[in-house]
C-alpha cells in the first residue's frame, strides 16, 4: 500500500489543535476582559436633558448630597431631586434663571413660560441593579458606607458616570470585608474624607463608649498600627457590630 496521507498530514492534527487553542485563548481573553460589568458598565456617561454639573454644585458650592438626594437615608431608593429643588435656586430672578441650559427646567416649573408643560424632567438613569436583586440605600448609608464607595468621586465629576461595576461579586467583596470602608456617620456625604480628618482622641472615646472597652486598652491594642481607614473601620465594625449578609435571600427575594 502507498501512503494515502502525504507526509505533511502527520502533524496536521496537532497543528489544528494548537491553532484552535490559540483562537480559544484569544476568544476567552476577550470575553474575560469585556463581558463583565467592569467593562460594560463602568464609564457609562449618558447625555442628560440638563447638563447638570456635580463638580460645581456638590464640589465648588459645597452642597451636601442630601440637599437634593433627600430620601437617601430613609428609603431604599435614592431619589433624583424634583424640579422644585432646582427651582429654589434657579427660579425667576435667581441664579442663571434664563440660562439656555435650564430650558427643560423652565418647561417643568415656570407657569408663565410659553413652552410650559408641567411634565417632570426626564433624567437618564445610570446606576441600576437588575430587578431580581434588591438594593437598599438606607441600609448602607446609615451603617457607615459612604456614597464614594459605590459611586466614586461624584463631587469631582462635571458629568456623572458609572464608576463602579455594581456586579454581584463587587457587592459580595465588600460584604465579606466591610471593615475597610466604614466611616463615622456624619462623614457619609463628605466624599473627600480621609483618616487624617478624624481626631484619634475623640474617636477612641466614642469607640470606648460603644464597646465598653477602656480607651487605654484600645490604644494599647493599636500600638504600632498605622492610623488609617482600615484601623478606623475595624473599630467601627466592632462597635456597631456590622455584619453584611451573604446569603442569597438577602438580596434575591
Amino acid at each position: 500500500m502507498g501512503n494515502i496521507f502525504p507526509r505533511w498530514t502527520n502533524l496536521l492534527a496537532i497543528k489544528v489543535l494548537v491553532c484552535l487553542g490559540a483562537l480559544g485563548t484569544c476568544a476567552i481573553a476577550v470575553a474575560w476582559y469585556s463581558w463583565t460589568p467592569k467593562y460594560t458598565r463602568v464609564g457609562y456617561m449618558p447625555q442628560q436633558p440638563i447638563p447638570f454639573d456635580h463638580s460645581l454644585h456638590a464640589g465648588q458650592l459645597g452642597m451636601d448630597c442630601r440637599y437634593c438626594h433627600s430620601q437617601v437615608e430613609n428609603s431604599p431608593h435614592s431619589n433624583i431631586p424634583a424640579a422644585q429643588v432646582c427651582w429654589n435656586c434657579h427660579g425667576p430672578g435667581k441664579v442663571k434663571s434664563d440660562s439656555p441650559k435650564l430650558e427643560p427646567l423652565r418647561q417643568a416649573m415656570d407657569t408663565n413660560y410659553e413652552k410650559y408643560t408641567g411634565q417632570p424632567i426626564e433624567w437618564v438613569q445610570l446606576h441600576k441593579v437588575p430587578d431580581y436583586a434588591h438594593f437598599s440605600h438606607q441600609a448602607h448609608v446609615n451603617r457607615g458606607v459612604s456614597c464614594v464607595e459605590c459611586h466614586g468621586r461624584i463631587d469631582e465629576m462635571p458629568v456623572v458616570y458609572h464608576a463602579k461595576p455594581l456586579s454581584m461579586s463587587w457587592c459580595l467583596d465588600c460584604h465579606r470585608d466591610p471593615g475597610k470602608v466604614l466611616r463615622p456617620l456624619d462623614q457619609i456625604t463628605n466624599l473627600k474624607w480621609g483618616a487624617d480628618d478624624l481626631d484619634p482622641e475623640s474617636f477612641y472615646a466614642y469607640v470606648a463608649g460603644k464597646t465598653k472597652v477602656s480607651v487605654e486598652d484600645l490604644k494599647k491594642s493599636d500600638q504600632g498600627k498605622a492610623w488609617d481607614r482600615e484601623l478606623i473601620g475595624a473599630h467601627l465594625q466592632k462597635a456597631w457590630s456590622v455584619h453584611p449578609p451573604q446569603d442569597c435571600a438577602a438580596c434575591h427575594y
Partner: protein, 205 residues
C-alpha cells in the same frame, strides 16, 4: 500555520483596539449579556410606567382615601389642594393656631440634645447654602444671586418671629425662598427651628 498566527495577531490587535480599555466613557446604554428578568414589568420608584394613562409610575391617591399614617382634614378647614389631607391641620403640622402663627414648640416635639443635633445637621444640609453656616445670610449661593436678598436669620427681626412662623416659612417658602416641605419631614423642620433659636442666641444680636 504561520499565516494563521499572523491573521490571529492582526485580528487580536483589531479586536483589542475596538474594545479599548476598561472604564472608557461612553453614552449608549450598557450592553447586557443576559437581560432576562433585569427589567421586570412593575412600578418602580420615580420611573415611568406604560400601564397608567399619564405615563407616570407614581400615583396620586384615589379620591376620598387617606394614606396610612396621615389624617384627613377636619371639617371646615379649607383644603389648599387635592393632597392637603396629607398635612394635618394642628399646630405640629402647620405652625398655625387658627389664623395666627403659634409661639413655642408643639407638645409632640421634645426639645433635647438629639433634636438639636438633628436640627444642626439638617440646617447645614438644607439651609446653609443660602443662609450660611451661622445663619447670617452669607451662604455661598448668595454670592451668585444678582441682588443678594437672602435673609439674615440671626438678626432681631427673625429672632422675634414666633416659632410657628419660621416653621411655616420652611414649609411654604416666602418671597424668593422656595418651600422645603418636600425634602424635610415635619419633625426635621421643627428640629431646624430649634437649632436656629440656638444660633440666634449664640449670635448675641
Amino acid at each position: 500555520m504561520r499565516w494563521f498566527f499572523l491573521i490571529l495577531a492582526i485580528a487580536s490587535i483589531t479586536v483589542a483596539l475596538a474594545i479599548g480599555p476598561r472604564g472608557e466613557k461612553f453614552s449608549t446604554p450598557p450592553f447586557m449579556l443576559f437581560p432576562d428578568m433585569d427589567n421586570q414589568y412593575k412600578v418602580k420608584a420615580q420611573k415611568p410606567s406604560e400601564f397608567f394613562e399619564n405615563g407616570q409610575g407614581a400615583r396620586v391617591p384615589v379620591e376620598g382615601t387617606v394614606p396610612f399614617g396621615y389624617a384627613p382634614p377636619k371639617e371646615g378647614v379649607s383644603a389648599a389642594g387635592p393632597l392637603d389631607f396629607s398635612r394635618g391641620d394642628d399646630y405640629l403640622n402647620t405652625g398655625l393656631f387658627g389664623d395666627f402663627y403659634g409661639k413655642g414648640f408643639p407638645g409632640e416635639i421634645k426639645l433635647d440634645e438629639t433634636l438639636l443635633a438633628r436640627g444642626k445637621e439638617r440646617f447645614r444640609i438644607s439651609c446653609s447654602p443660602c443662609h450660611g453656616m451661622s445663619g447670617n445670610g452669607a451662604g455661598i449661593v448668595s454670592k451668585y444671586w444678582a441682588i443678594p436678598p437672602t435673609a439674615n436669620l440671626v438678626d432681631p427681626r427673625v429672632k422675634s418671629m414666633p416659632e410657628g412662623q419660621i416653621f411655616w416659612t420652611i414649609t411654604h417658602g416666602k418671597g424668593l425662598m422656595g418651600p422645603y416641605n418636600g425634602v424635610l419631614s415635619v419633625k426635621d423642620r421643627w428640629a431646624i427651628v430649634a437649632y436656629l433659636r440656638g444660633l440666634q442666641a449664640a449670635s448675641g444680636n
